[in-house]
Amino acid sequence: MMKRTAWPIFGIILLGYPLIFSTPFQQRLGALVLLSAIGASAWNIVGGYAGLISVGHAVFFGCGAYGALASYKYLGLPPIGGLPIGVVVSIGIAAIVGVPTLRLSGHYFSMATIAVAELVRLVVSNIDWLGGAQGLSGPPVPRTPLDLSFISALPYYYLFLGVLTIVLAVTRQMERGRIGYYLRAIHDSERAARSLGAPVSRYKLYAYMMSAALTAVAGALYAVMFGFVDPESGLGILISVKMVMMAALGGAGLLLGPLMGAVILVPLEELSNSLLGGIAPGVTFMVYGAIIVVIARLQPAGLLRPILGALRERSDKVVRRPC
């Protein structure tokens, strides 16, 4: 999808960003973009490639975040040490939830995922040992470097960049492998895929579990950076919707679509918050909402697709030069 030469340039931009834009605000912004991109890319596996629009991925994000902070609170581990716990729980929940809900088609699936996410949010709000409505906190002062508690956002930036690279590599591998073909076939027509003998249900569940695991990673990283999670910030419907919006805005089902969506949406939110937040609270999200509406209206398939199309057309022209 992208020419070989484009990758190193792309990598250098991502590696160099926090060194060029080196104010704390810009570095923090960069880290937040990457963190959101991790979540949205994880969502993309099931939502973009397989076309199963989950609006309940906050459950898995919450598993990661709560896993990290609960294992600090009860086992004394550094929060990042709770990541495997969060991932395992997340995969378990995906398996339990996936079996009944993945049978549902289209909108029904989306609605069921919303309901499950709200269910989990409400249950967690009432569980005392998970902090109830108050939530959980991380170590107030870093005990060891492993607590990954930094004042600067720079270490987080590179940590998140590394994880995002892994997530994208996994996605790329999947895209090219058997499972990628199955998922796209399911997306195009589940019935056709099934009639041609594709093990549809099994692969949908695999994709769902993989997506859940990676989303939990995003949640754990969130908890490591912010050192805090409560039902709203870890399991709220906005978490799920933001993943969907980023992927949709950039281009769902494209490797770099979610990253592009994050590059647009996160700065939009943070900038308008810092510019307008003081003057007129509320206007921030009015602008944010209006811009999303305009993009959905003008580019319903996401912003990345037309760009890729234009690039492809140009390279086609070069190849098809008359001889």
Partner: protein, 287 residues
């Protein structure tokens, strides 16, 4: 004990009727255009604010607020249809989520910006007092809401199934191209559907405002209730939305009474997931 239970069920039925009303708007556009409207709860929120403004500006009660909210929201619905929905409805489902959620944010934060975050309530004297119907005590504001909601939902159903307009709308829902060849304008029918759906949310909002707090964020909660109601009832089915709304109202109030108010939503969502598992197309949906 027994009379308390009847009391609780009656309360649930009245609440459920209002759920049914604003969900029937959602199910109408969902069934007709296959569009998920994430801004639906915020339409209801605006209807509530209309009732608040009608009261605070001219001291009017529901008799004034309901028609004004219906008209205001219907106009908003038509505007939204022509500016946004028409262009995204043929696109992928993700574009619909993106567009309507953007719209939701726009509406929610416009209200936030204009009215502030504080919770507002209408004075209880507006629709005052409680009534005794046999052994059951009901607040008259809830009774009014439930009864009007039932009537409006029934009218919506009759419009869809018994009038020429309804047949045209269903024809467009079935096959827009074929309908166009028969001389029906799909655009106009879909705009009317949006107007009707939005008017239903306006009426619901204006009614709910009499016994519920008004705040910009209230739409989010209501949207989830509407989603659950519509998918439980089956997309596109007004009777389904009615049955599901009443059912959810009863389950909510009975479980709030039996195991505690904080668990009522948990019970509703759990039963919803279970119901979808057992019957994947909702109670009255077509496969």
């Amino acid at each position: 004990m027994f009379s308390t239970l009847i009391q609780v069920i009656a309360g649930g039925l009245l609440l459920g009727a209002v759920y049914a009303l604003f969900s029937s708007g959602l199910t109408l556009i969902w069934g007709m255009m296959n569009v998920i409207n994430f801004a639906h709860g915020d339409f209801v929120m605006l209807g509530m604010y209309v009732a608040f403004v009608v009261w605070s500006v001219m001291g009017g009660g529901p008799a004034a607020a309901v028609p004004i909210a219906a008209l205001a929201l219907a106009s908003l619905g038509v505007v939204c249809y022509f500016v946004l929905i028409r262009h995204i409805m043929r696109g992928p489902m993700l574009a619909q989520i993106l567009g309507t959620f953007g719209l939701a944010l726009l509406l929610r934060y416009s209200a936030f910006w204009y009215f502030g975050t504080s919770f507002r309530t209408l004075p209880e004297t507006l629709v005052g007092g409680t009534l005794l119907i046999g052994p059951i005590r009901v607040e008259s504001s809830r009774l009014l809401a439930g009864v009007v909601a039932l009537i409006v939902t029934a009218c919506l159903h009759l419009i869809l199934t018994r009038t020429a307009l309804g047949s045209r709308m269903l024809a467009v829902a079935e096959d827009a191209t074929a309908a166009e060849l028969m001389g029906i304008r799909p655009d106009r029918m879909q705009a009317i559907a949006w107007a009707l759906a939005a008017a239903a949310t306006g009426v619901a909002g204006a009614l709910i405002a009499n016994f519920f707090y008004v705040a910009p964020s209230v739409g989010e909660t209501l949207a989830i209730v509407a989603f659950v109601t519509v998918s439980l009832g089956g997309f596109g089915s007004v009777p389904g939305a009615l049955a599901a709304g009443l059912l959810i109202g009863i389950i909510e109030s009975v479980s709030a009474y039996a195991i505690g108010a904080i668990y009522k939503d948990i019970v509703v969502y759990a039963l919803f997931v279970l119901a979808l598992w057992l019957r994947p197309v909702g109670l009255m949906g077509k496969a």
